[in-house]
Symmetry: C2
Subunit: 333 residues, 2 copies
Protein backbone atom coordinates (compact mmCIF):
# COMPACT_ATOMS: atom_id res chain seq x y z
CA UNK A 1 0.00 0.00 0.00
CA UNK A 2 2.53 2.54 1.12
CA UNK A 3 4.92 1.74 -1.71
CA UNK A 4 2.10 2.11 -4.21
CA UNK A 5 1.12 5.47 -2.79
CA UNK A 6 4.71 6.69 -2.99
CA UNK A 7 4.90 5.51 -6.59
CA UNK A 8 1.73 7.48 -7.31
CA UNK A 9 3.35 10.62 -5.94
CA UNK A 10 6.43 10.21 -8.04
CA UNK A 11 4.47 9.53 -11.18
CA UNK A 12 2.28 12.59 -10.59
CA UNK A 13 5.27 14.79 -9.83
CA UNK A 14 7.22 13.57 -12.82
CA UNK A 15 4.27 14.06 -15.14
CA UNK A 16 3.62 17.58 -13.85
CA UNK A 17 7.27 18.54 -14.18
CA UNK A 18 7.63 17.14 -17.67
CA UNK A 19 4.46 18.77 -18.85
CA UNK A 20 5.18 22.24 -17.59
CA UNK A 21 8.85 22.40 -18.49
CA UNK A 22 8.21 21.03 -21.97
CA UNK A 23 5.43 23.51 -22.63
CA UNK A 24 7.44 26.45 -21.32
CA UNK A 25 10.69 25.49 -23.04
CA UNK A 26 9.21 24.98 -26.46
CA UNK A 27 6.55 27.70 -26.33
CA UNK A 28 4.20 24.94 -27.41
CA UNK A 29 0.43 25.26 -27.23
CA UNK A 30 -0.43 24.64 -23.57
CA UNK A 31 -3.98 23.61 -24.48
CA UNK A 32 -3.49 21.32 -27.50
CA UNK A 33 -6.86 19.58 -27.12
CA UNK A 34 -8.74 22.86 -27.34
CA UNK A 35 -9.83 24.16 -30.74
CA UNK A 36 -9.05 27.80 -31.39
CA UNK A 37 -12.03 29.88 -30.47
CA UNK A 38 -13.50 32.15 -27.86
CA UNK A 39 -13.28 29.66 -24.97
CA UNK A 40 -9.60 28.90 -25.46
CA UNK A 41 -8.73 32.54 -26.15
CA UNK A 42 -10.56 33.77 -23.05
CA UNK A 43 -8.63 31.34 -20.85
CA UNK A 44 -5.26 32.33 -22.29
CA UNK A 45 -6.06 36.03 -22.08
CA UNK A 46 -7.08 35.69 -18.44
CA UNK A 47 -3.88 33.87 -17.53
CA UNK A 48 -1.82 36.50 -19.37
CA UNK A 49 -3.60 39.33 -17.56
CA UNK A 50 -3.16 38.02 -14.02
CA UNK A 51 0.45 36.89 -14.50
CA UNK A 52 1.74 40.03 -16.22
CA UNK A 53 3.71 41.77 -13.48
CA UNK A 54 3.70 45.05 -15.35
CA UNK A 55 -0.03 44.93 -16.02
CA UNK A 56 -2.87 46.50 -14.07
CA UNK A 57 -4.58 43.17 -13.49
CA UNK A 58 -1.63 41.35 -11.99
CA UNK A 59 -2.49 38.97 -9.14
CA UNK A 60 0.29 37.60 -6.92
CA UNK A 61 0.70 33.84 -7.12
CA UNK A 62 -0.64 33.23 -3.59
CA UNK A 63 -3.99 34.69 -4.56
CA UNK A 64 -4.28 32.69 -7.81
CA UNK A 65 -6.90 30.30 -6.49
CA UNK A 66 -8.91 28.34 -9.07
CA UNK A 67 -11.83 26.09 -8.09
CA UNK A 68 -13.22 23.27 -10.22
CA UNK A 69 -16.44 21.38 -9.91
CA UNK A 70 -15.83 17.66 -10.53
CA UNK A 71 -18.90 15.81 -11.88
CA UNK A 72 -19.54 17.03 -15.42
CA UNK A 73 -16.65 19.51 -15.27
CA UNK A 74 -13.58 17.32 -14.84
CA UNK A 75 -15.14 13.95 -15.68
CA UNK A 76 -18.43 12.67 -17.10
CA UNK A 77 -21.55 12.32 -14.97
CA UNK A 78 -23.99 10.33 -17.13
CA UNK A 79 -26.19 8.38 -16.97
CA UNK A 80 -25.64 8.74 -13.19
CA UNK A 81 -23.03 10.44 -10.99
CA UNK A 82 -20.15 7.96 -10.87
CA UNK A 83 -20.23 7.96 -7.09
CA UNK A 84 -23.73 6.57 -7.36
CA UNK A 85 -22.43 3.61 -9.36
CA UNK A 86 -19.98 3.11 -6.50
CA UNK A 87 -22.89 3.07 -4.05
CA UNK A 88 -24.85 0.60 -6.21
CA UNK A 89 -21.86 -1.74 -6.42
CA UNK A 90 -21.50 -1.50 -2.63
CA UNK A 91 -25.17 -2.39 -2.11
CA UNK A 92 -24.72 -5.55 -4.19
CA UNK A 93 -21.53 -6.42 -2.33
CA UNK A 94 -23.06 -5.86 1.11
CA UNK A 95 -26.43 -7.48 0.36
CA UNK A 96 -25.52 -10.92 1.80
CA UNK A 97 -24.88 -9.24 5.16
CA UNK A 98 -28.26 -7.47 4.97
CA UNK A 99 -30.99 -10.06 4.30
CA UNK A 100 -33.54 -7.44 5.36
CA UNK A 101 -32.73 -5.43 2.20
CA UNK A 102 -34.65 -7.98 0.12
CA UNK A 103 -37.86 -6.55 1.49
CA UNK A 104 -36.83 -2.99 2.39
CA UNK A 105 -36.89 -0.06 -0.01
CA UNK A 106 -34.91 1.45 -1.60
CA UNK A 107 -32.63 -1.60 -1.40
CA UNK A 108 -35.13 -4.20 -2.64
CA UNK A 109 -35.65 -2.37 -5.93
CA UNK A 110 -31.95 -1.63 -6.28
CA UNK A 111 -31.07 -5.29 -5.92
CA UNK A 112 -33.61 -6.13 -8.63
CA UNK A 113 -31.90 -3.58 -10.86
CA UNK A 114 -34.94 -1.32 -10.83
CA UNK A 115 -33.30 2.04 -10.26
CA UNK A 116 -36.41 4.07 -11.01
CA UNK A 117 -38.47 2.48 -8.23
CA UNK A 118 -35.50 2.65 -5.87
CA UNK A 119 -35.25 6.41 -6.32
CA UNK A 120 -38.98 7.10 -6.02
CA UNK A 121 -38.36 8.20 -2.44
CA UNK A 122 -36.21 11.09 -3.74
CA UNK A 123 -33.62 12.59 -1.45
CA UNK A 124 -34.57 10.31 1.44
CA UNK A 125 -33.84 7.20 -0.63
CA UNK A 126 -30.55 8.58 -1.90
CA UNK A 127 -29.48 9.44 1.62
CA UNK A 128 -30.35 5.93 2.84
CA UNK A 129 -28.27 4.41 0.06
CA UNK A 130 -25.34 6.73 0.77
CA UNK A 131 -25.37 6.08 4.50
CA UNK A 132 -25.67 2.30 4.06
CA UNK A 133 -22.67 2.26 1.72
CA UNK A 134 -20.44 5.13 2.93
CA UNK A 135 -20.71 4.97 6.74
CA UNK A 136 -19.94 2.48 9.49
CA UNK A 137 -16.23 2.03 8.82
CA UNK A 138 -13.03 3.92 9.62
CA UNK A 139 -11.69 6.59 7.26
CA UNK A 140 -8.73 4.32 6.50
CA UNK A 141 -11.02 1.43 5.58
CA UNK A 142 -13.19 3.65 3.40
CA UNK A 143 -10.14 4.98 1.57
CA UNK A 144 -9.15 1.41 0.71
CA UNK A 145 -12.69 0.54 -0.42
CA UNK A 146 -12.68 3.52 -2.80
CA UNK A 147 -9.20 2.68 -4.11
CA UNK A 148 -10.20 -0.90 -4.79
CA UNK A 149 -13.36 0.17 -6.63
CA UNK A 150 -11.87 3.00 -8.68
CA UNK A 151 -9.04 0.81 -10.00
CA UNK A 152 -11.37 -1.98 -11.18
CA UNK A 153 -14.97 -0.79 -11.80
CA UNK A 154 -15.99 -0.04 -15.39
CA UNK A 155 -18.55 2.39 -16.76
CA UNK A 156 -21.65 0.51 -18.03
CA UNK A 157 -21.74 2.31 -21.38
CA UNK A 158 -18.12 2.99 -22.34
CA UNK A 159 -16.51 0.03 -20.61
CA UNK A 160 -13.73 2.38 -19.48
CA UNK A 161 -12.41 2.79 -15.97
CA UNK A 162 -14.13 5.83 -14.49
CA UNK A 163 -10.78 7.61 -14.19
CA UNK A 164 -10.38 7.17 -17.96
CA UNK A 165 -13.49 9.30 -18.39
CA UNK A 166 -11.85 12.52 -17.24
CA UNK A 167 -11.73 15.30 -19.79
CA UNK A 168 -8.37 15.62 -21.54
CA UNK A 169 -8.90 19.36 -22.27
CA UNK A 170 -9.53 19.98 -18.57
CA UNK A 171 -6.41 18.04 -17.55
CA UNK A 172 -4.46 20.38 -19.83
CA UNK A 173 -6.21 23.38 -18.31
CA UNK A 174 -5.37 22.27 -14.75
CA UNK A 175 -1.71 21.80 -15.69
CA UNK A 176 -1.63 25.12 -17.58
CA UNK A 177 -3.00 27.02 -14.58
CA UNK A 178 -0.58 25.35 -12.18
CA UNK A 179 2.34 26.08 -14.51
CA UNK A 180 1.25 29.71 -14.19
CA UNK A 181 1.34 29.77 -10.41
CA UNK A 182 -2.27 28.87 -9.71
CA UNK A 183 -3.33 26.62 -6.87
CA UNK A 184 -6.09 24.34 -8.19
CA UNK A 185 -8.91 23.08 -5.97
CA UNK A 186 -11.86 20.76 -6.49
CA UNK A 187 -15.14 22.05 -5.07
CA UNK A 188 -17.68 19.32 -5.72
CA UNK A 189 -21.07 18.14 -4.55
CA UNK A 190 -19.48 14.69 -4.51
CA UNK A 191 -18.10 13.09 -1.37
CA UNK A 192 -14.84 14.63 -0.21
CA UNK A 193 -13.48 11.24 0.88
CA UNK A 194 -14.68 9.58 -2.29
CA UNK A 195 -12.49 11.91 -4.38
CA UNK A 196 -9.35 12.16 -2.27
CA UNK A 197 -7.96 8.65 -2.81
CA UNK A 198 -7.52 9.11 -6.59
CA UNK A 199 -7.68 12.84 -7.40
CA UNK A 200 -3.98 13.41 -6.81
CA UNK A 201 -2.82 10.82 -9.34
CA UNK A 202 -5.57 11.63 -11.86
CA UNK A 203 -5.82 15.43 -11.63
CA UNK A 204 -2.65 16.39 -9.75
CA UNK A 205 -4.86 17.83 -6.98
CA UNK A 206 -3.78 16.79 -3.47
CA UNK A 207 -6.27 15.80 -0.72
CA UNK A 208 -5.89 19.13 1.09
CA UNK A 209 -7.14 20.95 -2.02
CA UNK A 210 -10.38 19.02 -2.28
CA UNK A 211 -13.67 20.36 -0.95
CA UNK A 212 -16.79 18.21 -1.09
CA UNK A 213 -19.84 16.90 0.71
CA UNK A 214 -19.21 14.97 3.89
CA UNK A 215 -20.66 12.83 6.62
CA UNK A 216 -19.57 13.25 10.23
CA UNK A 217 -16.55 11.45 11.60
CA UNK A 218 -15.77 10.64 15.22
CA UNK A 219 -12.39 10.09 16.88
CA UNK A 220 -12.13 6.93 18.94
CA UNK A 221 -9.14 5.56 20.83
CA UNK A 222 -9.03 1.78 20.48
CA UNK A 223 -6.69 -0.75 21.97
CA UNK A 224 -4.64 -0.90 18.78
CA UNK A 225 -4.65 2.87 18.26
CA UNK A 226 -6.86 5.78 17.28
CA UNK A 227 -9.42 5.64 14.45
CA UNK A 228 -11.76 8.09 12.79
CA UNK A 229 -15.17 6.46 12.36
CA UNK A 230 -17.51 7.45 9.56
CA UNK A 231 -20.97 8.01 11.06
CA UNK A 232 -24.34 7.81 9.32
CA UNK A 233 -24.92 11.54 9.85
CA UNK A 234 -24.78 14.25 7.22
CA UNK A 235 -22.15 16.87 7.89
CA UNK A 236 -22.13 19.21 4.89
CA UNK A 237 -23.65 19.40 1.40
CA UNK A 238 -21.22 21.14 -0.92
CA UNK A 239 -23.68 22.14 -3.63
CA UNK A 240 -25.36 25.37 -4.80
CA UNK A 241 -25.28 27.86 -1.87
CA UNK A 242 -23.05 25.34 -0.09
CA UNK A 243 -20.17 25.84 -2.53
CA UNK A 244 -19.21 29.37 -1.45
CA UNK A 245 -19.66 28.20 2.15
CA UNK A 246 -17.34 25.23 1.53
CA UNK A 247 -14.83 27.47 -0.24
CA UNK A 248 -14.81 29.86 2.67
CA UNK A 249 -14.46 27.07 5.20
CA UNK A 250 -11.69 25.14 3.44
CA UNK A 251 -9.84 27.74 1.39
CA UNK A 252 -10.55 30.90 3.33
CA UNK A 253 -10.16 33.21 0.39
CA UNK A 254 -12.14 33.92 -2.70
CA UNK A 255 -11.06 32.18 -5.92
CA UNK A 256 -10.17 34.37 -8.89
CA UNK A 257 -11.34 31.68 -11.32
CA UNK A 258 -14.10 29.08 -11.11
CA UNK A 259 -15.11 26.26 -13.45
CA UNK A 260 -18.41 24.40 -13.45
CA UNK A 261 -21.06 22.86 -15.67
CA UNK A 262 -24.43 23.07 -13.93
CA UNK A 263 -26.79 25.12 -11.81
CA UNK A 264 -25.11 23.53 -8.80
CA UNK A 265 -22.11 25.71 -9.64
CA UNK A 266 -24.00 28.98 -10.07
CA UNK A 267 -23.30 30.37 -6.60
CA UNK A 268 -19.63 29.42 -6.79
CA UNK A 269 -19.30 31.38 -10.03
CA UNK A 270 -21.25 34.32 -8.58
CA UNK A 271 -19.10 34.36 -5.46
CA UNK A 272 -15.89 34.14 -7.49
CA UNK A 273 -16.73 36.86 -9.99
CA UNK A 274 -18.06 39.25 -7.32
CA UNK A 275 -14.52 39.73 -6.00
CA UNK A 276 -12.40 42.77 -6.84
CA UNK A 277 -10.05 42.80 -9.82
CA UNK A 278 -9.78 40.41 -12.74
CA UNK A 279 -11.98 37.30 -12.41
CA UNK A 280 -12.82 34.36 -14.62
CA UNK A 281 -15.81 32.01 -14.79
CA UNK A 282 -16.35 29.12 -17.19
CA UNK A 283 -19.16 26.64 -17.78
CA UNK A 284 -18.76 23.36 -19.66
CA UNK A 285 -21.86 22.82 -21.78
CA UNK A 286 -22.36 19.16 -22.69
CA UNK A 287 -23.32 19.39 -26.37
CA UNK A 288 -21.72 16.29 -27.80
CA UNK A 289 -24.13 13.36 -27.93
CA UNK A 290 -21.74 11.41 -30.11
CA UNK A 291 -18.47 11.59 -28.20
CA UNK A 292 -19.98 12.16 -24.72
CA UNK A 293 -23.54 13.23 -23.84
CA UNK A 294 -25.72 16.19 -24.79
CA UNK A 295 -27.84 17.67 -22.01
CA UNK A 296 -28.60 20.89 -20.22
CA UNK A 297 -31.75 22.80 -19.37
CA UNK A 298 -33.96 19.77 -18.67
CA UNK A 299 -31.45 17.24 -17.43
CA UNK A 300 -31.98 15.43 -14.13
CA UNK A 301 -28.22 15.15 -13.72
CA UNK A 302 -26.16 18.26 -14.35
CA UNK A 303 -29.07 20.59 -15.10
CA UNK A 304 -27.69 23.74 -16.75
CA UNK A 305 -30.39 26.38 -16.93
CA UNK A 306 -30.13 29.40 -14.62
CA UNK A 307 -26.34 29.33 -14.77
CA UNK A 308 -26.43 29.35 -18.59
CA UNK A 309 -28.69 32.40 -18.54
CA UNK A 310 -26.40 34.15 -16.10
CA UNK A 311 -23.36 33.25 -18.22
CA UNK A 312 -25.01 35.16 -21.06
CA UNK A 313 -25.68 38.33 -19.10
CA UNK A 314 -22.46 38.24 -17.05
CA UNK A 315 -20.17 37.37 -19.95
CA UNK A 316 -18.87 34.10 -18.53
CA UNK A 317 -17.07 31.74 -20.89
CA UNK A 318 -19.19 28.82 -22.10
CA UNK A 319 -17.43 25.78 -23.53
CA UNK A 320 -19.38 24.16 -26.33
CA UNK A 321 -17.98 20.69 -25.89
CA UNK A 322 -18.69 19.60 -29.45
CA UNK A 323 -16.94 22.56 -31.06
CA UNK A 324 -14.34 23.57 -28.48
CA UNK A 325 -12.78 20.22 -27.63
CA UNK A 326 -10.69 18.22 -30.13
CA UNK A 327 -10.85 15.17 -27.93
CA UNK A 328 -12.94 14.33 -24.87
CA UNK A 329 -11.05 11.63 -23.00
CA UNK A 330 -7.30 10.99 -22.74
CA UNK A 331 -5.91 8.62 -25.35
CA UNK A 332 -5.94 4.98 -24.25
CA UNK A 333 -2.68 4.03 -22.53
CA UNK B 1 -7.15 47.49 1.37
CA UNK B 2 -6.23 45.53 -1.69
CA UNK B 3 -2.89 47.26 -2.10
CA UNK B 4 -2.07 46.57 1.53
CA UNK B 5 -2.92 42.92 1.15
CA UNK B 6 -0.73 42.63 -1.94
CA UNK B 7 2.11 44.30 -0.05
CA UNK B 8 1.66 41.75 2.74
CA UNK B 9 2.03 38.93 0.24
CA UNK B 10 5.20 40.37 -1.21
CA UNK B 11 6.75 40.98 2.19
CA UNK B 12 5.94 37.45 3.32
CA UNK B 13 7.30 35.95 0.10
CA UNK B 14 10.44 38.01 0.20
CA UNK B 15 11.08 37.15 3.84
CA UNK B 16 10.52 33.45 3.25
CA UNK B 17 12.80 33.42 0.22
CA UNK B 18 15.55 35.35 1.93
CA UNK B 19 15.41 33.19 5.00
CA UNK B 20 15.55 29.85 3.30
CA UNK B 21 18.13 30.71 0.66
CA UNK B 22 20.42 32.35 3.21
CA UNK B 23 20.23 29.39 5.57
CA UNK B 24 20.81 26.89 2.81
CA UNK B 25 23.61 28.84 1.11
CA UNK B 26 25.62 29.41 4.25
CA UNK B 27 24.91 26.12 5.99
CA UNK B 28 24.02 28.31 8.97
CA UNK B 29 22.13 27.02 11.99
CA UNK B 30 18.48 26.91 10.87
CA UNK B 31 17.25 27.15 14.47
CA UNK B 32 19.46 29.89 15.97
CA UNK B 33 17.08 30.68 18.83
CA UNK B 34 17.14 27.08 20.08
CA UNK B 35 19.76 26.05 22.61
CA UNK B 36 21.58 22.85 21.80
CA UNK B 37 19.86 19.99 23.54
CA UNK B 38 17.52 17.10 23.06
CA UNK B 39 14.59 19.13 21.68
CA UNK B 40 16.61 20.83 18.95
CA UNK B 41 18.51 17.65 18.10
CA UNK B 42 15.32 15.59 17.83
CA UNK B 43 13.84 18.09 15.36
CA UNK B 44 16.93 18.18 13.18
CA UNK B 45 17.28 14.39 13.23
CA UNK B 46 13.64 13.98 12.21
CA UNK B 47 14.02 16.37 9.29
CA UNK B 48 17.21 14.61 8.18
CA UNK B 49 15.51 11.22 8.32
CA UNK B 50 12.45 12.08 6.25
CA UNK B 51 14.36 14.12 3.64
CA UNK B 52 17.19 11.65 3.04
CA UNK B 53 16.30 10.08 -0.30
CA UNK B 54 18.67 7.20 0.27
CA UNK B 55 17.36 6.49 3.76
CA UNK B 56 14.71 4.03 4.88
CA UNK B 57 12.58 6.73 6.47
CA UNK B 58 12.32 9.00 3.45
CA UNK B 59 8.94 10.69 2.98
CA UNK B 60 8.09 12.37 -0.35
CA UNK B 61 7.55 16.11 -0.07
CA UNK B 62 3.79 15.87 -0.75
CA UNK B 63 3.31 13.80 2.39
CA UNK B 64 5.40 16.08 4.62
CA UNK B 65 2.43 17.56 6.45
CA UNK B 66 3.12 19.30 9.77
CA UNK B 67 0.34 20.60 11.99
CA UNK B 68 0.75 23.27 14.67
CA UNK B 69 -1.57 24.25 17.45
CA UNK B 70 -1.65 28.05 17.77
CA UNK B 71 -2.49 29.26 21.33
CA UNK B 72 0.46 28.41 23.58
CA UNK B 73 2.35 26.72 20.73
CA UNK B 74 2.97 29.52 18.23
CA UNK B 75 2.10 32.48 20.46
CA UNK B 76 1.35 33.10 24.15
CA UNK B 77 -2.05 32.39 25.66
CA UNK B 78 -1.93 34.00 29.12
CA UNK B 79 -3.64 35.31 31.16
CA UNK B 80 -6.42 34.57 28.63
CA UNK B 81 -6.57 33.28 25.04
CA UNK B 82 -5.87 36.35 22.93
CA UNK B 83 -9.07 35.82 20.97
CA UNK B 84 -10.91 36.31 24.23
CA UNK B 85 -9.31 39.75 24.61
CA UNK B 86 -10.62 40.46 21.13
CA UNK B 87 -14.11 39.44 22.26
CA UNK B 88 -13.86 41.62 25.38
CA UNK B 89 -12.80 44.63 23.33
CA UNK B 90 -15.73 43.97 20.97
CA UNK B 91 -18.17 43.85 23.89
CA UNK B 92 -16.99 47.27 25.05
CA UNK B 93 -17.19 48.64 21.52
CA UNK B 94 -20.68 47.26 20.88
CA UNK B 95 -22.12 48.11 24.32
CA UNK B 96 -23.70 51.44 23.26
CA UNK B 97 -25.80 49.51 20.71
CA UNK B 98 -26.85 47.02 23.40
CA UNK B 99 -28.25 48.94 26.38
CA UNK B 100 -29.77 45.64 27.59
CA UNK B 101 -26.25 44.34 28.32
CA UNK B 102 -26.07 46.61 31.37
CA UNK B 103 -28.45 44.26 33.13
CA UNK B 104 -27.83 40.97 31.31
CA UNK B 105 -25.15 38.46 32.23
CA UNK B 106 -22.48 37.71 31.20
CA UNK B 107 -22.25 41.18 29.63
CA UNK B 108 -23.09 43.23 32.73
CA UNK B 109 -20.15 41.78 34.66
CA UNK B 110 -17.85 42.03 31.65
CA UNK B 111 -18.60 45.71 31.22
CA UNK B 112 -17.80 46.27 34.90
CA UNK B 113 -14.46 44.53 34.31
CA UNK B 114 -15.45 41.61 36.53
CA UNK B 115 -14.30 38.72 34.39
CA UNK B 116 -14.69 36.12 37.12
CA UNK B 117 -18.41 36.75 37.58
CA UNK B 118 -18.90 36.99 33.82
CA UNK B 119 -17.47 33.51 33.34
CA UNK B 120 -19.39 31.90 36.20
CA UNK B 121 -21.80 30.49 33.62
CA UNK B 122 -18.95 28.47 32.12
CA UNK B 123 -19.24 27.33 28.53
CA UNK B 124 -22.68 28.88 28.10
CA UNK B 125 -21.36 32.34 29.02
CA UNK B 126 -18.34 31.99 26.77
CA UNK B 127 -20.55 30.93 23.88
CA UNK B 128 -22.84 33.92 24.42
CA UNK B 129 -19.87 36.27 24.38
CA UNK B 130 -18.45 34.65 21.23
CA UNK B 131 -21.75 34.78 19.37
CA UNK B 132 -22.44 38.39 20.37
CA UNK B 133 -19.03 39.48 19.11
CA UNK B 134 -18.22 37.11 16.23
CA UNK B 135 -21.58 36.68 14.43
CA UNK B 136 -24.10 38.89 12.67
CA UNK B 137 -21.84 40.31 9.98
CA UNK B 138 -20.46 39.18 6.63
CA UNK B 139 -17.20 37.28 6.39
CA UNK B 140 -15.65 40.28 4.63
CA UNK B 141 -16.71 42.61 7.45
CA UNK B 142 -15.42 40.25 10.10
CA UNK B 143 -12.07 39.96 8.36
CA UNK B 144 -11.73 43.75 8.45
CA UNK B 145 -12.74 43.88 12.14
CA UNK B 146 -10.02 41.35 12.99
CA UNK B 147 -7.43 43.18 10.88
CA UNK B 148 -8.22 46.47 12.60
CA UNK B 149 -7.97 44.92 16.06
CA UNK B 150 -4.84 42.85 15.51
CA UNK B 151 -2.88 45.80 14.16
CA UNK B 152 -3.71 48.07 17.12
CA UNK B 153 -4.68 46.13 20.29
CA UNK B 154 -2.00 45.67 22.95
CA UNK B 155 -1.53 42.88 25.48
CA UNK B 156 -2.43 44.11 29.01
CA UNK B 157 0.75 42.82 30.63
CA UNK B 158 3.50 43.19 28.02
CA UNK B 159 2.13 46.20 26.16
CA UNK B 160 3.10 44.46 22.90
CA UNK B 161 0.94 43.90 19.87
CA UNK B 162 -0.41 40.36 20.10
CA UNK B 163 1.42 39.43 16.89
CA UNK B 164 4.66 40.48 18.62
CA UNK B 165 4.02 37.73 21.16
CA UNK B 166 4.66 34.89 18.73
CA UNK B 167 7.53 32.58 19.61
CA UNK B 168 10.70 33.32 17.68
CA UNK B 169 11.96 29.72 18.00
CA UNK B 170 8.71 28.46 16.48
CA UNK B 171 8.93 30.94 13.59
CA UNK B 172 12.35 29.49 12.85
CA UNK B 173 10.96 25.97 13.10
CA UNK B 174 8.13 26.76 10.65
CA UNK B 175 10.57 28.23 8.15
CA UNK B 176 13.01 25.34 8.62
CA UNK B 177 10.32 22.76 7.92
CA UNK B 178 9.08 24.64 4.84
CA UNK B 179 12.64 24.97 3.54
CA UNK B 180 12.73 21.17 3.78
CA UNK B 181 9.62 20.64 1.69
CA UNK B 182 7.05 20.51 4.48
CA UNK B 183 3.60 22.02 4.17
CA UNK B 184 2.79 23.72 7.49
CA UNK B 185 -0.76 23.92 8.85
CA UNK B 186 -2.32 25.50 11.90
CA UNK B 187 -4.82 23.26 13.72
CA UNK B 188 -6.17 25.36 16.56
CA UNK B 189 -9.12 25.50 18.92
CA UNK B 190 -9.22 29.20 18.07
CA UNK B 191 -11.55 30.65 15.45
CA UNK B 192 -10.53 29.80 11.89
CA UNK B 193 -11.61 33.24 10.65
CA UNK B 194 -9.94 34.97 13.57
CA UNK B 195 -6.56 33.55 12.53
CA UNK B 196 -6.72 33.78 8.75
CA UNK B 197 -6.45 37.57 8.35
CA UNK B 198 -2.98 37.74 9.91
CA UNK B 199 -1.45 34.23 9.97
CA UNK B 200 0.01 34.53 6.47
CA UNK B 201 2.05 37.64 7.22
CA UNK B 202 3.01 36.54 10.75
CA UNK B 203 3.63 32.80 10.32
CA UNK B 204 3.84 32.41 6.53
CA UNK B 205 0.80 30.10 6.70
CA UNK B 206 -1.87 30.88 4.08
CA UNK B 207 -5.63 30.83 4.83
CA UNK B 208 -6.14 27.48 3.10
CA UNK B 209 -3.70 25.86 5.54
CA UNK B 210 -5.54 26.95 8.66
CA UNK B 211 -7.94 24.69 10.53
CA UNK B 212 -9.89 26.03 13.49
CA UNK B 213 -13.20 26.28 15.28
CA UNK B 214 -16.02 27.84 13.32
CA UNK B 215 -19.56 29.16 13.37
CA UNK B 216 -21.91 28.52 10.49
CA UNK B 217 -22.03 30.82 7.48
CA UNK B 218 -24.88 31.28 5.02
CA UNK B 219 -24.73 32.41 1.39
CA UNK B 220 -27.08 35.24 0.52
CA UNK B 221 -27.54 37.03 -2.80
CA UNK B 222 -28.11 40.73 -2.17
CA UNK B 223 -28.82 43.53 -4.59
CA UNK B 224 -25.19 44.59 -4.59
CA UNK B 225 -23.88 41.05 -4.83
CA UNK B 226 -23.40 37.87 -2.85
CA UNK B 227 -22.33 37.75 0.80
CA UNK B 228 -21.49 35.06 3.31
CA UNK B 229 -23.20 35.83 6.60
CA UNK B 230 -21.77 34.71 9.92
CA UNK B 231 -24.56 33.13 11.93
CA UNK B 232 -24.82 32.73 15.71
CA UNK B 233 -24.64 28.93 15.41
CA UNK B 234 -21.73 26.72 16.31
CA UNK B 235 -20.35 24.75 13.40
CA UNK B 236 -17.27 22.91 14.67
CA UNK B 237 -15.04 22.85 17.75
CA UNK B 238 -11.49 22.09 16.71
CA UNK B 239 -10.19 20.89 20.07
CA UNK B 240 -9.25 17.55 21.65
CA UNK B 241 -11.04 14.77 19.70
CA UNK B 242 -12.05 17.49 17.23
CA UNK B 243 -8.47 18.04 16.05
CA UNK B 244 -8.05 14.74 14.19
CA UNK B 245 -11.57 15.26 12.81
CA UNK B 246 -10.63 18.77 11.60
CA UNK B 247 -7.37 17.48 10.14
CA UNK B 248 -9.21 14.79 8.24
CA UNK B 249 -11.84 17.22 7.00
CA UNK B 250 -9.46 19.98 5.87
CA UNK B 251 -6.20 18.22 5.06
CA UNK B 252 -7.42 14.75 4.21
CA UNK B 253 -4.20 13.02 5.10
CA UNK B 254 -2.42 12.27 8.32
CA UNK B 255 0.38 14.65 9.36
CA UNK B 256 3.82 13.19 9.90
CA UNK B 257 4.63 15.82 12.54
CA UNK B 258 2.46 17.60 15.10
CA UNK B 259 3.24 20.37 17.57
CA UNK B 260 1.16 21.35 20.58
CA UNK B 261 1.34 22.48 24.18
CA UNK B 262 -1.71 21.22 26.05
CA UNK B 263 -4.14 18.38 26.63
CA UNK B 264 -6.23 19.91 23.83
CA UNK B 265 -3.50 18.67 21.47
CA UNK B 266 -3.29 15.12 22.84
CA UNK B 267 -5.52 13.48 20.22
CA UNK B 268 -3.78 15.33 17.37
CA UNK B 269 -0.43 13.97 18.54
CA UNK B 270 -1.88 10.48 19.01
CA UNK B 271 -3.43 10.53 15.54
CA UNK B 272 -0.19 11.80 13.98
CA UNK B 273 2.14 9.33 15.64
CA UNK B 274 -0.17 6.34 15.00
CA UNK B 275 0.59 6.60 11.27
CA UNK B 276 3.07 4.31 9.51
CA UNK B 277 6.72 5.25 9.13
CA UNK B 278 8.70 8.01 10.80
CA UNK B 279 6.59 10.41 12.87
CA UNK B 280 7.32 13.33 15.16
CA UNK B 281 5.41 14.87 18.07
CA UNK B 282 6.45 17.84 20.18
CA UNK B 283 4.96 19.60 23.20
CA UNK B 284 5.93 23.10 24.30
CA UNK B 285 6.05 23.14 28.10
CA UNK B 286 5.68 26.67 29.50
CA UNK B 287 8.31 26.71 32.23
CA UNK B 288 9.56 30.28 32.07
CA UNK B 289 7.77 32.51 34.58
CA UNK B 290 10.31 35.25 34.02
CA UNK B 291 10.34 35.66 30.25
CA UNK B 292 6.83 34.27 29.57
CA UNK B 293 4.59 32.23 31.92
CA UNK B 294 5.04 28.98 33.84
CA UNK B 295 2.04 26.66 33.96
CA UNK B 296 0.94 23.15 33.16
CA UNK B 297 -0.83 20.44 35.10
CA UNK B 298 -3.24 22.69 37.01
CA UNK B 299 -3.67 25.58 34.59
CA UNK B 300 -7.13 26.72 33.51
CA UNK B 301 -5.69 27.85 30.19
CA UNK B 302 -3.39 25.47 28.38
CA UNK B 303 -3.61 22.62 30.89
CA UNK B 304 -0.79 20.17 30.19
CA UNK B 305 -1.32 17.01 32.17
CA UNK B 306 -2.38 13.84 30.31
CA UNK B 307 -0.42 14.85 27.22
CA UNK B 308 2.73 15.34 29.33
CA UNK B 309 2.33 11.84 30.78
CA UNK B 310 1.86 10.39 27.32
CA UNK B 311 4.89 12.29 26.04
CA UNK B 312 6.92 10.46 28.67
CA UNK B 313 5.71 6.99 27.76
CA UNK B 314 5.56 7.57 23.98
CA UNK B 315 8.90 9.36 23.72
CA UNK B 316 7.55 12.62 22.33
CA UNK B 317 9.82 15.66 22.40
CA UNK B 318 9.08 18.10 25.22
CA UNK B 319 10.41 21.64 24.92
CA UNK B 320 11.39 23.09 28.26
CA UNK B 321 10.88 26.71 27.32
CA UNK B 322 13.23 28.07 29.97
CA UNK B 323 16.16 25.87 28.95
CA UNK B 324 15.52 25.19 25.28
CA UNK B 325 14.78 28.67 23.98
CA UNK B 326 17.38 31.45 23.83
CA UNK B 327 14.70 34.05 23.20
CA UNK B 328 10.94 33.93 23.45
CA UNK B 329 9.64 36.72 21.25
CA UNK B 330 11.10 38.21 18.05
CA UNK B 331 13.40 41.20 18.60
CA UNK B 332 11.57 44.54 18.54
CA UNK B 333 11.50 45.99 15.02
Amino acid sequence: MKARRILFYFAAMAAATLFSSAAIASGADPLPSWNDGNAKQSIIQFVKDVTDKAGLEYVPSEARIATFDNDGTLWSEQPLYFQFFFALDRVKLLAPQHPEWKTTEPFASLLKGDLESALKGGEKSILEIIMATHAGMSTTEFEQIVRDWITTAKHPKTGKLYTEMVFQPMLELLAYLRANGFKTFIVSGGGIEFMRPWAESVYGIPPEQIVGSSIKTRFEMREDGPVLLREAKLDFIDDKEGKPVGINSHIGRRPIAAFGNSDGDLQMLQWTTAGEGRRFALLVHHTDAEREWAYGRDSHIGKLDKALDEAGTAGWTVVNMKDDWKVIYPPAQ
